[in-house]
Every structure is written in structure tokens, then in C-alpha cells.
Amino acid sequence: MSDTNARIAEIVNTNDVVLFMKGTPLFPQCGFSSRAVAILEHLGVPYQGVDVLQDMEIRSGIKAYSDWPTIPQLYVKGEFVGGSDIMMEMYEAGELQDLMAQSGLTPTS
């Protein structure tokens, strides 16, 4: 368990934007993950996708790590931002764009 926590901490602290998801960015395996990918693609920021279906330790560990029961989960600069519903609300309010800009994450063209 602590090993899993250390692995998750390593992932979220060495990648600016991480999406824990079901499937891959190219082939999301769930509607919520698909929506989260679409938002990130729309923002145009680089991100690391982590497919929890390929790693059962991460799949259960991330829920405890974030104290959040569902997947997908977005991390920016090591901080938990929310799931796909919160991502959508923040995106529609312009807050996700602000967060990325404040974090020094500029879109790639």
C-alpha cells in the first residue's frame, strides 16, 4: 500500500498534468474518461495518461491517495483537481484554463 502511494506520488510529482483514466487517451474505455480526455485535448496542454485498467494497484490506490471514489482523476502540479464533472464545470467557467496558465502550462500548437 505504501509502495503504491510512493508510486502514485512519483507519477503526480514528475508530470505537470496527469490524468488517471480507464483506457488510454487514444482509446478511452469509459464515457467519463473520454470526456476528461476531450477537455484536456481542447485545452491543448500536454498531459500524461495513466490507464488504471492496466494496473490494479494504481486503480485501487489512487482512490485512497486522493480520497476520491471514482475515475478519471486529474492532477496538476501534484495537486488533485477533481473528476470529469469538476473538470467540465471548471472548463465551462474558464477556471481550468486559468489553472493551467497559472501553473505555467501553455497550450501546444
Binding site: I71, G82, I86, E89
Partner: protein
């Protein structure tokens, strides 16, 4: 196993007694839900904390028996 809509509403109201819950069956299959929850308990709390209150009310079935719940929260007008 899925969780019935009435059970979802009952659990949210048990955890957040003042909550107004609007539940929508997204796929007509009694399994994919959208919930809009309005409660004074959300006042002054960030979105993540608001959602956690709802998840806590639903309990350990959240993300398990109930895996497809689209959630939005708001404070009363």
C-alpha cells in the same frame, strides 16, 4: 449490481438532510445517472469538498455498485 435511483436519493438526503436532489436517468437503464444536488452544506466549500460530501453520503458503493454518476453541486439561492 446497479443502484436504484430511489436509493441514491435516499442516501444523499440521509447524509445531507436539506439537500434538493434532481436525478436524471441518462440512458434509461436505471444504471447511468446524473445528479444535481443543492445544499446549504456546500456554502463556502470548494467543488472537490462539495462532491466529497455527496460521495460520503452515498457511501462505499460509490465507484463500485454505483459507478456512473454524473454529479453537479450548487448552493441554495
Amino acid at each position: 449490481m446497479a443502484m436504484a435511483g430511489a436509493e441514491i436519493i435516499a442516501r444523499i438526503k440521509a447524509g445531507l438532510p436539506d439537500a434538493e436532489v434532481t436525478l436524471t436517468d441518462l440512458a434509461g437503464d436505471d444504471n447511468h445517472w446524473a445528479a444535481h444536488v443543492v445544499s446549504a452544506a456546500f456554502v463556502g466549500k470548494p467543488r472537490v469538498a462539495q462532491h466529497k460530501l455527496v460521495y460520503a453520503a452515498i457511501g462505499a458503493d460509490m465507484g463500485e455498485a454505483l459507478h456512473a454518476l454524473q454529479l453537479t453541486t450548487a448552493v441554495p439561492n
